[in-house]
Amino acid sequence: MWRPGNIDRPTGVFVGLLVLSLALVTVDLRASGGGLGTTLRDGAQTLFAPVERVVASATRPVADAFENLSNLFSLSADNQRLRAQVADLERQLQETESLQVRVSELEALLGVDPPAGLDSIAAQVLAVGVSEFDQVRVIDKGSDDGVGIDMPVVDEGGLIGRVVAVTGSVSRVRLITDPTIHIAVRIERTGETGVLTGRGSGPMVLELFNTDAAVVEGDLLVTADGRFPAGIPVARVRTAARAEVGFSLRTTADPVAGLTSIDFVRVLVFTRDEATVGDLEDQERLPATVPSDSGSQSEGDADQLPTTTTSTTQGGSTP
């Protein structure tokens, strides 16, 4: 018969620590993003940031050497790809310039005010998540620099994630590939809206609301109205798909931002509209958050969003 006295002391300590761990998990989950857990995390991040800075600068030569070595093998292929990309971008730039002139003329004709600009804060990635399961980045700007919770973070490619925790000097950014992240997106080509969901290290999952819609490979997905400012490039469709009757359309998409090699980022000074946008992460009101006819209205705005410039334009906001 089992008695408490039968177990040895280390096993007793082990069981006690397991119970304590489970109690911590329960308390942290019940606080749901607030309380003691958040206070401790913010404190730890503040205290640990200087250690990370020192270690990062001390180990930079080692990391640089490794990166240079691994880049050697891909230099030739990268060169060819970049040349093709430059040619394509030059062509797109010419088209965009003529379109911008036309949009300005139409705005003046219709009496529409141009979209308001969004300020941005440049930051450097200080550290990554401590485990392979963490889809987070720590950046070297915090509330002292104007960074706030929920602000979108972008790089030169597109959306990286959003700020989920802020201390005075550093902030934590949750990447769009985190499985708990759901983003309202719009296909730039057709205006169809849907939801993009992270799946960790793999491609993201796109689910469209319109069952008659079709997507082709390479379709650019941009943010729709909601948690993020509309029109920020998020991902490109990986596989073409057409919905079967009665089912929603599901396919995969690759993020356009270089999530594995980000170094410098920009935090967009933008706060979502709580009154009009439900929390997509709760998945409670997914279809209602993105009106099906919003695509055509904001499509034009998306075309004129210079999201790779210092000041990002906010377009297509809910009137």
């Binding site: 270690v55 399961f133 708990t180 960790g200 793999g202």
Partner: protein
């Protein structure tokens, strides 16, 4: 455990966490990195007293929880379990050194798999990650390779391989 050794262990755990979040953010062969903090816990748990090893596992886990995005206590539970597993088998390991590499691989893989399951239970959707197998196996492999450096280093830091004051006997 003497105060000097305790301070050394704490400092090494902190440095391991800092290396994990900075250097191994860029040094990622096959887009993966070792679970260095876990490896340090395994390395020290082989030598220090049983209760100290469990508390070290718990403390290092709490540190990782504070730096991670998961619920507070999840990594603490996993690391404490890993330390307990090391305690149960450390005497056998000293009889046969050839088992140390596979043992480190098994403990790391088991710990990461345990975290994946617990993370999913507690709403982190860790098993929804399409690269979950890779995220468990590659860090385990790297830990097994790094064990050749870290385990002797831990032994050297503690001064000797066999200075336990409370041997773990079941």
């Amino acid at each position: 455990m003497k105060l000097r050794r305790l301070v050394a262990v704490v400092v090494i755990v902190l440095i391991a966490a800092a290396l994990q979040t900075t250097m191994f953010a860029r040094l990622r062969p096959f887009d993966s990195a070792p679970a260095l903090v876990l490896l340090v816990v395994i390395a020290f748990a082989r030598h220090i007293p049983a209760e100290a090893a469990l508390i070290l596992g718990f403390g290092a886990g709490v540190l990782q929880d504070l730096l991670a995005d998961s619920p507070l206590g999840l990594w603490a539970l996993v690391f404490t379990s890993a330390a307990y597993f090391v305690l149960r088998f450390r005497d056998r390991l000293e009889d046969d050194f050839s088992l140390i590499g596979p043992f480190v691989f098994a403990v790391t893989a088991g710990s990461l798999a345990l975290f994946s399951v617990l993370g999913t239970i507690f709403g982190e959707k860790t098993l929804a990650d399409v690269g979950i197998i890779k995220k468990v196996l590659l860090p385990s492999l790297y830990n097994m390779l790094l064990a050749a450096l870290i385990l002797p280093f831990a032994t050297w830091v503690l001064g000797a391989a066999r200075r336990r004051t409370t041997p773990f006997e079941l």
